[in-house]
């Protein structure tokens, strides 16, 4: 089956709220602090080493891979994902929930080569339009023992879970900063994570079973979020709480 390749992307940022102004200022200070001391560059370097490392039965590196802009062209390629690819290579599943795989480091390196490029995911191909449409439906579909959809938490402006402000991910203003900052270093578990992982973590909190990595479901959601938030210059890999 053909599908859209999403080199891992996901969700959690902020929109302002009138309450608890002091706490908000403190949280902003904390966010600045963790960004200043972020080890993101180390993950990018590991990814760069992997990109050029010759390995496997063909003793080949990834350096001539075509991520959509031509063989070996990395600059700006990440900002144009998710995108439909005809080849079958994208069907392989990478990584898992608990342990970072080499894929995450590669995503750090590749995403970093798009810094400053406006997020411009694929929208023209019928497969891309179908992925967006499926993602939109998944976003609003209530399910599971707690009857949640993505929109249960990310549907109205100015809402919080505890002190955490919730971006409205069905809006340009809410989704833009989110898709422009994943993948990211996650301070709370000291790991480099993808947006796909973050979407799965929402499913965990929704009390749902687990979406399969690189499935059409996760790619459709990433496509919906990225198309909704397109236009922001990419400024990741980010650093999240």
């Amino acid at each position: 089956m053909q599908r859209i390749a999403a080199l891992a992307l996901a969700a959690a940022a902020g929109a302002p709220c009138a309450l608890a102004q002091d706490a908000k200022t403190e949280i902003e200070k904390y966010q600045q602090m963790i960004a200043d001391s972020s080890p993101v560059e180390l993950f990018e370097l590991q990814g760069e080493t992997l990109w050029s490392k010759r390995q496997g039965p063909k003793d080949a590196s990834l350096e001539q891979c075509d991520l959509g802009l031509g063989a070996g062209v990395l600059k700006g390629a990440y900002a144009q994902l998710p995108r439909y690819f005809r080849d079958e290579a994208t069907k392989r599943v990478f990584g898992n929930e608990d342990r970072p795989s080499e894929m995450e480091y590669l995503s750090a390196y590749i995403a970093a080569q798009s810094r400053g490029a406006p997020m411009a995911p694929g929208t023209a191909h019928p497969k891309e339009a179908a992925a967006y449409e499926l993602g939109r439906k998944l976003f609003f579909y209530r399910a599971g023992p707690w009857d949640f959809s993505c929109a249960s938490c990310h549907g109205e402006p100015g809402k919080r879970i505890r002190m955490q402000e919730l971006p409205v991910l069905s809006s340009r203003a809410g989704a833009g900063p989110v898709v422009a900052t994943w993948p990211a270093y996650r301070v709370s578990n000291s790991q480099f994570k993808t947006m796909q992982w973050r979407i799965n973590d929402c499913y965990r909190q929704m009390r749902m079973p687990e979406p399969t990595y690189a499935s059409d479901l996760t790619i459709a959601l990433a496509t919906y979020l990225t198309v909704t938030g397109k236009g922001d210059p990419y400024r990741g890999p980010g650093t999240k709480r």
């Binding site: 998944l138 399910a143 707690w146 109205e156 749902m208 687990e210």
Partner: protein
């Protein structure tokens, strides 16, 4: 596409209810076949993990009605379904209120039913994720209405205990497409835990009311 606001739904909802918990209504599915399409994708692309089994993906009549009607079903559709939800509530014999101190711990805890929760983990109500309760706890969410002073305003009467117990057990019995989880019906909280939450909400000694 039909758009309504949560406000109108709230005005129609029960006067007892701390309201504003219905999502902003907007239709995203035009037919049951569109819902089946999404359900097929979920079944194909989601796998069981820990306690989170695939049985959780089976939609019930309520979820179908809320998804299909942009969380704003007509009264004619909602009333019988609300009655069905009301029938799921198992009120215990005797007192409906417990210990507010235990209730506070339950209100604070966000554990339960997640795939990383172990079999020995005791579930909480995740109340503070969405509601303001005691003024001493500044870390509260705003997805649900503030419940600060809940019992002070309403009184710790048997009728109010019954309402609070039912609302926690199955919020959908009172407002079909409420955003609040059905904490008793879903098996998240036990009878005793819900009684303790009733005390946390209504007991005059509870910090919620002081």
């Amino acid at each position: 596409m039909r758009m309504t606001t949560a406000l109108r739904v709230c005005a129609a909802a029960t006067a007892l209810a701390a309201c504003a918990d219905t999502p902003v209504a907007e239709r995203h599915f035009s037919s049951e076949s569109e819902l089946r399409e999404v359900q097929a994708v979920l079944k194909r692309d989601i796998h069981a993990r820990g306690s989170a089994t695939l049985a959780r993906l089976e939609p019930d009549a309520l979820q179908q009605a809320c998804n299909l009607n942009g969380n704003a079903p007509t009264e004619a559709l909602a009333k019988p379904l609300e009655a069905e939800q009301m029938a799921t509530i198992r009120y215990p014999a005797g007192s409906l209120t417990g210990d507010w101190k235990r209730g506070e711990k339950i209100a604070q805890s966000g554990r339960g039913l997640q795939w990383n929760d172990g079999p020995k983990d005791v579930a909480g109500g995740s109340c503070y994720n969405c509601h303001e309760l005691a003024p001493q706890e500044p870390s509260f969410g705003t997805l649900g209405p503030s419940l600060r002073g809940f019992g002070k305003v309403r009184g710790n009467t048997p009728e109010m205990q019954r309402y609070a117990y039912g609302r926690i057990y199955n919020s959908k019995a009172f407002n079909l497409c409420s955003q609040m989880p059905r904490l008793g019906q879903s098996g998240t909280l036990s009878e005793q835990q819900i009684k303790d939450l009733v005390a946390y909400l209504l007991d005059p000694e509870s910090p919620v009311n002081r």
